[in-house]
Amino acid sequence: MIHVEHLHKSFGSVHAVDDVSFEVSRGEVVGLLGPNGAGKTTTMRVITGYLSANEGLVSVDGVPVSEDGMETRQKIGYLPENSPLYLDMEVYEFLSYIARLRNVSAKKINRRIIEMIEICGLKSVIGRQAGKLSKGYRQRVGLAAAMIHKPPILILDEPTSGLDPNQIYEIRELIKNIGQERTVILSTHIMQEVEATCSRALIINSGKLVAHGTIDELLNRSGAHINYTVSIKATRRQIEERVTLLNNVNFGEWLTDELSEHQRLTLRCSDRTNHSEEIFNWAVKNAFILTELTHETTSLESVFRELTQN
C-alpha cells in the first residue's frame, strides 16, 4: 500500500533521510521509531506530499506521490507533529472546514463529526475555540481532523504526545481498532507504544533505517535475555552446588555479601520464555526458602538504545 524506495531528503548539508526503503501493506500498523532528529517527521512529510524527495520513489497504492498528487493526498489522513490547528476557529467549525476540503459530502459532514466526537472524546470541547484547548485536546482535535474522511491510510506523527495516561490508553485502543482494516504509520519515541499498538517497527537513526521487523524479531535479533532476581535463605555454597541443575537458566551474579545466610542473586536465560515456574520448582525441590522472585525482560527500549547510540 505504501512503498518507499531509496528515499533521500536533505536540507542543505543535513541528510535528514538517507536511503530509506520500506513497504507497508494494508491493515498494518507500523511504528516509526527513532531518537530526536532521526528523520521520522521528514519521512512522513514526504509520504504525505508536503515535502518532495531529493531522490527515491514513494508511492501510495501504486501511484507515485508528488506535490500535486491529489489522488494520494485524498487517501491519506495526516496528523502533523504537535497537531497544528487554526487557533481562532471553534472545534466544530474547524472539523467541518477540513471535512469539506476533504470532499466529505455535505450530507455526511454532521454524521462524521458526531462520530469523531464520540471516538476522540471531544464532547466537552466541541464549541470551544481551538486556541483555548489544552495540548491533549488539541492533539485529539488533530486526530479527529485526520480521520474525518475515513482515509484508508493514516499517518500520525507522535499521536500520543501530550496526552494523559487515560487518553493514551484510549488512543492506542483506537489505533489498534483502526489498524484492523486500515493502514497506519505512527511515529513515537515511546517503546511501549510500539509494543502496544504496532505489528511492526521501523527503527531509524540519523536518517538511516537501522532495523525493521516485528516486535519479536527485533527483540530476538538483539540477543535479548531475561534477568531474574532471586533471594534465597541459604548460603552461597549451597546455592552454587545446585544452580547448575537448572535448565536453560544460568547464574548471573551475586548481589549480597559473601557470608550472608540470605543470598540475593541474578539468573539469566537467553530465550524469551518465562522460566519463573521452573525456578520456583527448583527451589522447592532443593528445600530453598524463596523470598523473592522477579524477572525483567530486555525491553524494546534497550534494543532501541543499542541500535541508535552512535
Binding site: F11, R45, T48, G49, Y50, L51, E67, D68, M70, E71, R73, Q74, I76, Y78, P80, E81, N82, P84, L85, Y86, L87, D88, M89, Y97, I98, R100, L101, R102, N103, A145
Partner: protein, 239 residues
C-alpha cells in the same frame, strides 16, 4: 476545485472578523480617510473626489500590507501550512482563495467609504466617470498591493517584518513611475519605469479613462506576484 477556492476564501474572509483585527483595521482606515477628506473638503469646498483618490494610494500603502501580513506568516508559525498543503487541493487554488479573501476585505473597506461619495453628490453635482473609475482603480491597485503583501508574507514567520517589507516594496513600485523619480526626461529607461510603476496607470483610470492596457497591467502584476508566491510556498516556505 472552484468549490474549494470558495470554501477557503470564505473561511479566510471570516477569519478577519474572528479576531478584533479586522475591526481595528477598518475603523482606523475609515477614521483617517474621513478626517483627511473632510478636512480639505470643507476648506476647499470643491464637490469632487479628486482629493480622495489622490490620497488613497498612500493610505492603501499601509492598509493593504496590514491586511496581507499575517496571511501566510501565521500559517507558517502555527504549522497549519502543513495541514493546508496536505489536503487534496491544488496549491494555486489555496493561494487564489487567500487572495480573494483579502480583496474581499479591501472591497469592504471601499464600500464603507461610499458615504463620502454620497456626501459629495448631495453637496454638488460631481462627474460620476472619475468616481467610478477611481473606485475601480483603487480595487485594482489594492489587489496589486495585496499580491505583493501576500508574497512577502510567505517569506517569513514574522508578521511585523512582513508588514514593513510589504509597505516598502509597494512604495517602491508606487513611486518609480512618477516624475519625481524619472524627472522630466524621456528615454528608454524612464519609459520602462513609467510603465512598471503603479501611479501612471492609477492616474489614468481615476480620471475616468478605463483603458484595457491599464487593466492588463494590474492583472499582470497580480499574476506575477501570486506566481512568485506559489513558488515560495512550494519551496523555501516548507523548509
Amino acid at each position: 476545485m472552484k468549490n474549494n477556492i470558495f470554501i477557503i476564501a470564505k473561511k479566510e474572509y471570516k477569519a478577519y472578523f474572528l479576531s478584533p483585527i479586522a475591526y481595528v483595521y477598518l475603523i482606523t482606515f475609515l477614521v483617517i480617510v474621513n478626517w483627511l477628506f473632510f478636512r480639505s473638503f470643507f476648506l476647499v469646498g470643491q464637490a469632487d473626489m479628486r482629493q480622495f483618490f489622490g490620497m488613497m494610494p498612500w493610505i492603501f500603502l499601509f492598509f493593504v500590507p496590514a491586511v496581507a501580513m499575517s496571511k501566510w506568516s501565521e500559517e507558517r508559525k502555527l504549522g497549519t501550512l502543513e495541514l493546508l498543503f496536505t489536503l487534496p487541493i491544488r496549491d494555486i487554488d489555496i493561494i487564489i482563495a487567500k487572495f480573494l479573501a483579502g480583496v474581499g476585505l479591501i472591497a469592504t473597506a471601499l464600500i464603507l467609504t461610499f458615504p463620502i461619495a454620497i456626501t459629495v453628490a448631495l453637496v454638488g453635482n460631481p462627474d460620476w466617470g472619475p468616481i467610478i473609475g477611481g473606485y475601480l482603480g483603487l480595487l485594482l491597485l489594492g489587489g496589486a498591493y495585496l499580491s505583493i503583501g501576500l508574497m512577502i508574507s510567505s517569506l517569513t514567520e514574522n508578521q511585523i517584518i512582513a508588514f514593513i517589507l510589504g509597505v516598502f516594496l509597494c512604495f517602491i513600485i508606487l513611486i518609480i513611475g512618477t516624475p519625481m523619480v524619472i524627472g522630466g526626461t524621456s528615454n528608454f529607461i524612464t519609459n520602462i519605469l513609467q510603465y512598471a510603476g503603479f501611479t501612471p496607470h492609477f492616474d489614468s483610470i481615476s480620471r475616468g479613462v478605463v483603458d484595457s492596457s491599464d487593466i492588463v497591467y494590474y492583472f499582470s502584476v497580480m499574476g506575477l506576484f501570486l506566481y512568485i508566491n506559489e513558488r515560495i510556498l512550494k519551496g523555501i516556505a516548507r523548509r
